[in-house]
Amino acid sequence: MTLLGTGSAIEASADHRKPRASDPIVFPAQTISSMTSTICAPPLQRNWPLWWKLSLAGALLFVLILAVAIGWLFYAGIGIWGISWPVVWGFAIINYVWWIAIASGGTFISALFYLAEVEWRGALNRIAETITIFAAACAAIYPILHLGRPWLFYWLFPYPNVMGVWPQFRSPLLWDFAAILTYVISSILFWHFGLVPDLATMRDKADAPRTRRFYGALALGFRGSENAWRYYSIGYGLLAAVMAPLVISVHSIVGLDFAGAATLGWHSTQFPPFFVFGALLSGFAMVMLVAVPVRRLLGLEDFITGRHFDILGKLLLTSSLCLSYAYLMEAFTTFYGPDAAAKRLFIDKVAGELAPIYWTTILFNVLAPQAMWRRSVRLNETLVVLISLLVIVGMWCERYVIVVMSLRRTHLPSAWGDYTPTVWDWMTLFGTIGLFIAGLLVAIRLLPTVSMFEMREVILRHARRHR
């Protein structure tokens, strides 16, 4: 029985709700039609249980807090934040890098692993892409707010203006604008394009005329003809091929935002790959953090199995090892190099006033994921959620170290300063977390949480193999 009580093949699967090492990618009891009705049932259910309503109400409260924080920011200016000279980048940049990194998991799983033709992605790509959309939306808010005069954000865009000047094309900050814009737009396109056949299924499954019209309009007239499928798979492959390199370029450019400045601790050639590693770690962590409870709440145990837990755990561990290498290289190049100021900054990081934040980063991003070496940990729902949560927090601490530490201890000791976030900083941070959760809740309410048309292929292939 699921919490929604949809009553289908799920009921028979009570014995394998706990992920096991021997789990297949999809349980053989599931046929194409049982899978379709299981996945279509939650969005078509009229009344959703209390947990959903309460979570949405809680998330919307934080969205309201976000609206207040942004409204006051627009009225009063960025002086309400903790930033000042010399720490001119604060929460806005930390949160921006954090969110855009969280967004990476979806693109990586659904685009790169699509091109690699891995079978297990079919059950996870919808959840992962939905995470991408809302995390990227949260990320995109911050650079605009950080501008100081947000209503002039379009000045970042190279257009023939009356000022007679162009944006500085040599600045990574301009590339960043282009990269984020491209990333957000193509993520939304990829998400919707991947949804079209499933929306058509929903249209055909729905009873109420209004529901049918809603899904019908979103399905853009997809009828599943042979011709439509042929063009569809070409289009999907093309979009995946566009998206896969984008996830690398976006995070490289975020790294260059820092590396392009001649600031201590930032001016390093390893920053682009370092940021890609960090992005993947937090992306995979967020996919786990969301997939584990959603699997239980919507009764998706037959599709997101022990096999998926195992793979995601290994991916988390791999990206954590890559990131650990980057941390190690950061220490190595600092002491291998000649810059006394850089050495002093590094020692301040690991033994100074804010050292606890640095060591929290190491503990959560490097040490905690090492537990994933054990299969029993990878298959333990509680531990998986806990480690993912630690990684998400750890990644935020990492950005705090990068942004604040370097700026508060510049080359000139006379220009040293400090940074204390204000209540408005915290309100904006928690507000975007509320926005993200609200987005996810609405998405699982309205849309099929697993890609049905891809699951059909997986089920067919498995059925053939087991015959």
């Binding site: 379009y154 257009y159 023939p160 203006n161 009356v162 000022m163 007679g164 000047v165 249209r203 055909d204 005329p209 049918r212 019209r213 019908g216 309009a217 853009l220 007239g221």
Partner: protein, 217 residues
């Protein structure tokens, strides 16, 4: 199960998409083009003034020099607006009872300056200095237009940043001989010295004229 939509829906869906694309294009185009327009920049705009002062009459007709009223233009960032006493140096003798000049007489009587409305304005973050432009051979009309022919003073140039930069990037052709600076009908002709000669004569530094801090502090 019947179709959700009738065949006409295809037409409306395409039309909606087309209209959305057109709306985006029209919005972008207007955001791009509108700031370039004379309306957006209020070119030819002549605000109502406390007294309908005519530069045409005073400058072209009577031959009064710009500096008689805008006295600090050569030495200060601000060109200076004339005190009521400057008006009264003549108008205590002529047109003493003219109804049009009532606000001027009241200003003197109450010891309160006339409140003229600014025609030529730049944003507060632009640190424009009249004296350096006059000293380096930029005439009044380069920014203010042919004021001597204006019955009512109007804004003659767009004064966008583009307008400023056009000259700062290539000042030579806009410079004029010293004796033509206050001649608002002057234009470059065959007798004007070559731009390079004027640049050299005035010692205009071309290296840093487009630095941000030249105009923005």
């Amino acid at each position: 199960m019947g179709s959700v939509f009738r065949p006409a829906a295809n037409f409306w869906a395409s039309l909606t998409l087309l209209m959305m694309a057109l709306a985006v294009a029209a919005f972008s185009l207007s955001v791009w083009l509108w700031p370039h327009s004379d309306d957006a920049r209020r070119v030819n705009w002549a605000p109502a003034q406390p007294v309908p002062f005519s530069h045409q009459h005073h400058v072209s007709g009577l031959g009064i020099d710009c500096r008689y009223c805008h006295a600090s233009v050569e030495v200060s960032s601000n060109a200076g607006m004339p005190p009521t006493y400057a008006c009264m140096s003549c108008h205590s003798q002529i047109w003493t009872n003219a109804a049009l000049l009532e606000p001027v007489r009241n200003s003197l009587k109450d010891d309160r300056p006339l409140v003229w409305r600014r025609v030529t304005d730049v944003p507060d973050y632009v640190y424009f200095d009249h004296s350096i432009h006059i000293a380096k051979g930029v005439g009044c009309s380069s920014c203010h237009g042919d004021v001597a022919s204006m019955a009512l003073t109007y804004k003659a140039k767009s004064l966008t940043m583009q307008f400023c930069l056009d000259c700062h990037r290539d000042p030579g052709p806009r410079l004029r001989p010293k004796d033509k600076i206050y001649d608002t009908s002057w234009t470059r002709d065959a007798t004007t010295p070559a731009p390079e000669l004027l640049l050299a004569a005035y010692g205009v530094p071309q290296r840093n004229l487009t630095d941000c801090s030249i105009c923005h502090r």
